[in-house]
């Protein structure tokens, strides 16, 4: 495997990890309004991600940093090309991060409520925007010979990207509700499962529409005639199994499968992109690929050494922190 290929895989892994981890964070955020009936439940739900959400968001920061370092042209084209989307995404992430943190510090109920609203809005909007970003990425964007992206409104906002955004929101919500089922006791846990059943039905519909649109709107099926349908099938299978286990109160398994559904979808997008990193809708020769977007060999090899040395520690203490906070959270008395 070349270094460029390795870094493409690493960046894909960082995004998969981000969507897996922050996915349930987002879902938990949505549940503070959709599931919680009062402020005690809201706090109980929020407490499930208390020690983790910060580190989960760092996966996005790391993915961004790795993109900058390993594929500067990808980073530059995407971030400047998706300008408005990123502005809104940043505002949403600011609102969400501040909301979750400051709800601890608010004194009055109104104050707390305001922070919870920000947390909720951020938790819905962020996965939606990221879903739009990635679906329009595989659909192709008007990138010129100089690697500059001049997109019109419909390049960013169209049926496919909207469905993609919605699908990521639903995946996150399912994953989050399953996580709440896993991490709580009492009434909240029961209601999380029953809400889950309804959301799962929406998710099935969403997945099917997404798969059909992917067939017509992208070249995912032609460039990966085996992997794309296989991973889409696995996504649906994981969704079915997740729902079954959730109803049997086997939340550990349910969580594994709701997470796997996310892993399969995101992997499908990255496998479909490879070896391109951004697809030009103007001319395939303007595509950004792992070759023309990458950093020099020396930079990549230094970063490979750094990553190989540090990753075991990073993963080690993150897993340890999940082990430390493994107990279920009961409602506040």
């Amino acid at each position: 495997m070349s270094l460029e290929e390795l870094w493409f895989v690493l960046i894909a892994v960082l995004f998969v990890g981000f969507f897996f981890l922050e996915g349930f964070d987002f879902g938990v955020g949505m549940s503070t309004r959709l599931l919680a009936k009062n402020k005690h439940e809201r706090e109980q739900i929020q407490a499930t991600i208390g020690p983790f959400w910060d580190a989960n968001e760092v996966w996005l920061i790391t993915a961004g940093g790795a993109l900058f370092a390993a594929f500067p042209n990808w980073y530059a084209t995407m971030f400047s090309g998706y300008y408005t989307l990123f502005v809104i995404l940043l505002l949403v992430l600011i609102a969400r991060g501040v909301g979750i943190e400051y709800s601890h510090h608010a004194k009055s109920d109104q104050g707390k409520n305001l922070w919870y609203w920000l947390f909720f809005i951020g938790s819905v909007a962020a996965p939606f925007l990221l879903g739009m970003l990635f679906t329009s990425l595989v659909r192709g964007m008007p990138i010129d010979a100089k690697m500059h992206l001049y997109g019109s409104f419909s390049d960013f906002v169209n049926v496919y990207s909207l469905v993609g955004g919605l699908a990521v929101v639903l995946l996150s919500l399912v994953h989050g509700l399953t996580f709440i089922g896993l991490r709580t006791t009492g009434d909240v846990r029961k209601r999380a499962i029953s809400l889950l059943n309804k959301v799962y039905i929406l998710l099935f519909v969403g997945e099917v529409i997404f798969a059909v649109l992917s067939y017509y709107q992208t070249d995912l099926f032609t460039v990966r005639p085996v992997a794309t349908p296989l991973l889409l099938g696995l996504t649906v299978l994981a969704t079915v199994l997740g729902m079954l286990f959730a109803n049997k109160k086997r939340e550990g398994f349910a969580f594994t499968f709701s997470g796997l559904a996310i892993v399969f979808v995101v992997s499908m997008l990255f496998i479909g992109l490879f070896p391109r990193v951004m697809i030009s809708s103007i001319d395939p020769s303007f595509n950004l690929t792992i070759e023309n977007a990458a950093s020099g060999h020396y930079t990549l090899s230094v970063m490979t050494k750094v990553a190989c040395t540090l990753l075991p520690f990073v993963l080690g203490y993150q897993i340890w922190s999940y082990y430390v906070f493994r107990k279920r959270i009961s409602p506040k008395k």
Partner: protein, 466 residues
């Protein structure tokens, strides 16, 4: 206004705002780690209270530091895409390492420190605080490695119009980094010192929780004093280094249009006329500039006109290599003046605290409340001098700010982002100040109240059982 101006304004706003909170985080968690360690060692509850109380301010600032930090990272690609393409090979590596080595460590162990109290032994909590402190410091190291490269490019070559890294070790032993990093860290520690000092002074004046705030005050003044001297010495060595590496920045910070002559006098204040490239009047201190530049009372310093001529030969004419002189000149003076004032105040604070008479020195306590603003202004003007003084370059000698801009971003887009980020920041700043003020006023009682709530163990059943 053009896209370039707007992008620069946005960069200035977002960076200055982000750097209000970074020093607070760096220093507050350092204090927290000290108090946690004292708690393990002396087993006195007051140290736990101190950790929790000052930790609250840490958490408030960290939350904003994180969310505004994402913006800092993304903004390079959004507003400065051509810079990102040119420099990504070099500049991206420290950013990626920062995330991998520092951010994960901070964010994970903050969780452990915040929520692990009833689950883990005391020493693990203290260790977590130290790991967070280490993380924030490492984060500063890597981000400054990236910044130092822009000030003084090392360990690279230009290939096909792009910078290509050739030596990672040169990047992290950059002479600029070696002077910039200690100066920034000392500045951060002083920020926390003066914040704790000021809030303690306020409560001592009101005679609330005197024991708690006296102890906090003592610790804060020790750190502020060490940091103060650190700032002065590291600042001096940085200035000397800049004389070699970025003489134009130093000349601008002195408003030195013509060569100084030997020995060089230091301009305390003056009326700068940038149009005619002269100073209408100035107040000079003889010998001082020679000393600042060379640690010697002899030696002349080159003026901006000479340097402009030199740079034109080196980098091509038709470019104005003189940065905005007034901004750099006054930023430097405010920074240095406030730095000196901080040293003085921390020495006095230490003196009074040692003699045990601090509660009677009302005038001093009052000035310490006002002094909370000093490090913030000094930090900000320090960065303004560093970044504006480098203009017109983003990467000194290789790439200009005008070249760095994203060509595909419209004026409307960048206006929209600048307005929305700025408004979000203004709101955040107001809320932050209100929240810190509330915590400061309430004192450690706020912790007591919250502990009553959280003493009820929220977690009782195994997650993976049943």
């Amino acid at each position: 206004m053009e896209v370039l101006d707007l992008a620069r304004i946005q960069y200035a706003i977002t960076t200055i705002f982000h750097f209000f909170f970074v020093p607070v985080s760096i220093s507050m968690i350092f204090f927290v780690a000290i108090f946690e360690t004292m708690y393990v060692w002396k087993k006195k509850k007051i140290y736990l209270d101190m950790s929790l109380f000052w930790g609250k301010i840490f958490l408030l600032s960290f939350a904003i530091g994180v969310v505004t930090g994402i913006l800092q990272e993304f903004q390079f690609g959004m507003n400065w895409s051509e810079y990102s393409r040119f420099m990504g090979d070099v500049f991206g590596a420290p950013l990626a390492v920062e995330a991998l080595l520092a951010f994960f460590m901070e964010s994970t162990f903050i969780g452990v420190w915040m929520f692990g109290r009833n689950k883990l032994p005391k020493w693990v909590i203290a260790l977590s605080a130290w790991l967070v402190a280490l993380g924030t410091t490492l984060s500063a190291l890597w981000i400054l490695a990236a910044n130092s490269f822009m000030q003084e490019p090392v360990g690279f070559k230009v290939e096909n119009g792009k910078a290509v890294l050739t030596s990672f070790s040169a990047l992290i032993t950059n002479p600029q980094l070696l002077v910039e990093f200690p100066h920034t860290i000392f500045g951060a520690l002083a920020t926390g010192g003066f914040m704790i000092g000021g809030i303690s002074a306020y409560n001592l004046l009101k005679k609330r929780n005197t024991e708690f705030f006296k102890k906090s005050f003592n610790y804060s003044m020790i750190v502020a004093c060490i940091a103060g001297f650190g700032i002065v010495f590291s600042g001096h060595s940085q200035a000397q280094h800049l004389m070699e590496s970025q003489p134009m920045k130093m000349a601008a910070s002195e408003a030195l249009w013509n060569d100084s002559g030997d020995p060089a006098a230091w301009t305390l204040i003056g009326d700068i006329d940038t149009k005619n490239k002269e100073n209408k009047w100035e107040v000079n201190i003889p010998y001082l500039l020679s000393y600042l530049a060379y640690s010697d009372f002899n030696g002349s310093v080159e003026g901006m006109k000479t340097l402009q001529a030199k740079y034109e030969k080196l980098y091509g004419d038709n470019v104005n290599y003189i940065p905005p002189v007034k901004t750099v000149f006054w930023s430097f003076r405010i920074m240095a003046g406030f730095g000196g004032l901080m040293v003085l105040l921390s020495l006095m604070g230490l003196w009074f605290a040692n003699r045990g008479s601090i509660v009677n020195k009302k005038w001093f306590l009052r000035s310490m409340i006002g002094a909370i603003t000093l490090p913030f202004i000094a930090n900000t003007t320090g960065w303004i001098m560093t970044e504006i003084g480098r203009q017109p370059w983003t990467v000194f000698g290789y790439y200009t700010t005008a070249q760095s801009i994203s060509p595909n971003v419209s004026k409307g887009q960048i206006l929209f982002s600048t307005i929305s980020f700025s408004s979000a920041y203004v709101i955040l700043a107001i809320i932050m100040i209100m929240m810190v003020a509330r915590v400061a006023k309430q004192g450690p009682d706020i912790i007591l109240k919250e502990n009553v709530n959280t003493k009820v163990d929220l977690m009782d059943k195994e997650a993976f059982g049943e």
